[in-house]
Amino acid sequence: MTETTETRTADPVATVSSTLLEARDLHVEFTSRGRRARAVDGVNLSLGAGEIVALVGESGCGKTTLARTLLGLERPTSGEVRYGGQPLKYGSKALKAYRRQVQLVLQDPTGSLNPRQTVYEAVAEGPRIHRMPDEAEVVNSALARAGLRPPERFLLRYPHELSGGQRQRVVIAGALALNPKVLVADEPVASLDASVRGEILALMLKLRDDLGLSALVVTHDLGLAWNIADRVAVMYLGRIVESGPVEQVLTAPRHPYTQALLSVLPESPERVVLTGEPPDPTRIPGGCRFHARCQILASGKAAEAGVDARCRGELLDILPASALSQAACHYADATG
């Protein structure tokens, strides 16, 4: 799990000064069956140039909605997405220009490719939309950068003729063809075989090193976050509950939720199994949003520290977009 950590070169604290993509007090709400679901419930997050940030959380925690909102595919209910210091505008021209900067890679490469388009057409679509010159040249170089060499061998293939890893490389090439500054990758390797996973991760790190590409990697896989990310943000029920440099957050987690997530990894000595209701974004509990399932509160440790009443009743501040290690937890605050 540690072998790729040496390839990390960017200093996380230094890169945050040149923030590229930023979420400020972002809220996204949906109405489902008459009830309001607060999918993203106040998130501050920043992504520096050349930085890779992992957004970790269980399914349904709002991490995909956050990613879609950062891409401008979803409009925030309140708060704003900022790119290059400017708030994102949702006019069709402004969005189109934004698309050249921030690109998307989805989990399932089979679904991400139109089955009736050849590799060439799939990769050429972006350049064509944005009327980039020398389309064929752009496509060839994007395929080569995504590790499909020689590109000519793949141009006329259809997605179903490729392996899963090759397909994901085509999807990445389609994003790279626009020369973006940021990749938002939603579970980029979750549907791939273990052997292919490493290749795609190595590719993303190489793209960061060669092209200075930033990436927000959405995942439920802490091992993936460890391997690829400079910083990690742990999301629970629409809010980031802990964030910081990946070594600190994953080796010395402060939030009980992060501790529970880490404890179920195979190498962990003891296992914390969360009890209670699964999180429901239409009914976010008062106090700390995690208190109903918190193992620290349940075991009485919070009461020892004298914070159990605050856990149940006192709302926590929204974490700022900081590069330093921080956790939204009364117990962690009290015990240091």
Binding site: L71, L73, S92, L95, K96, R99, R100, Q103, L104, L106, Q107, D108, G111, S112, L113, N114, P115, R116, T118, Y120, E121, A124, E125, G126, I129, H130, E135, A136, V139, N140, E152, R153, L155, L156, Y158, H160, E161, V171, G174, L178
Partner: protein
Amino acid sequence: MTAPLETAEPAAAQAAAGPARLGTLRYALSKAGGALLSIGMVIVGTFFLFRLLPGDPVRNLAQGRNMTPEQLDLERHRLGLDLPLFDQFLNFIGQTLRFDLGASYEYKRPVLDLIGDRVGATLLLAGTSLVIAVSLGLWQGMRAGWRHGSRFDRFSTGTSLVLWSVPTFWLGLLLLLVFSSWFQWFPSRGIQDVDAPDGFGYVLDVAHHMVLPCIAMVGVLYAQYLLVMRSSLLDEVGQDYITTARAKGLRDDEVRKRHAVPNALLPTVTLVFMRIGFVVGGAVTVEAVFSWPGLGELFYAAIRVPDFTLMQGTFMLIAVSVILMNTLADVVYHILDPRVRSA
């Protein structure tokens, strides 16, 4: 698509296109072989199917008139029904292979001529209805699926389902009652007036006669196109490649035009072709209600007699056209969908 490809890598383009075209040809030939086999089985099946029907065709033809046994035997001999079954079978096969479907018992004319007289009217009515139903259904299904849950979606899906559930003959009678009896806007039967004018006036006259039967057929047909198009578009809209295309900066209506609709149209291809097959058979009910002189009405009349050779002939015609259209649908699908091509 081919222009940039050839500039990029002409050799690879040709190498890939060659085998693909050959593969399609081989696929089409094998499908055609299968279709021929099916048609052969239809011919054999038709012979035995209609021999299994109860009743003596010669007695049915006599229709209660007093005939001596000698007269009946003579009639049997004339129709070739006195031969052993196996010889009858061989005669039938031989005739059919020479496109001779025999003479109608009732009309005393070659079945093929009778079909030839009627096929134009059926193709006109059913063809027009099919074109309208397909365009209307696909267009509404596309809009309904793209704006899923909108007022248009609920209204058009609801209307089409009601029309689909209504029995055809009832819809036809209702149309006749309202628009022919009460308002007297449209004629109630037939394809033309007795004193039909010539030239352009004739065309108008036929079109005038065709309005009501056409509405009845479209009303029944278009719902399935709407529903299939709607659900297949809904499937595509949920796909990741639609999101990816949006994230690349494609405008909403372009996403629909370039990605969602072309892929959603694939399942409807089969449906349309299968319907074309049935068109030749004509909509028996609609033709009967509106006395439309088409194949459907002919088939209906043949069943009432029963006129075996005529039934055999129309039955085989319908079966063969369905088989041919299915085969065509397979081949077209093969050309349109690269996934099927390599399977």
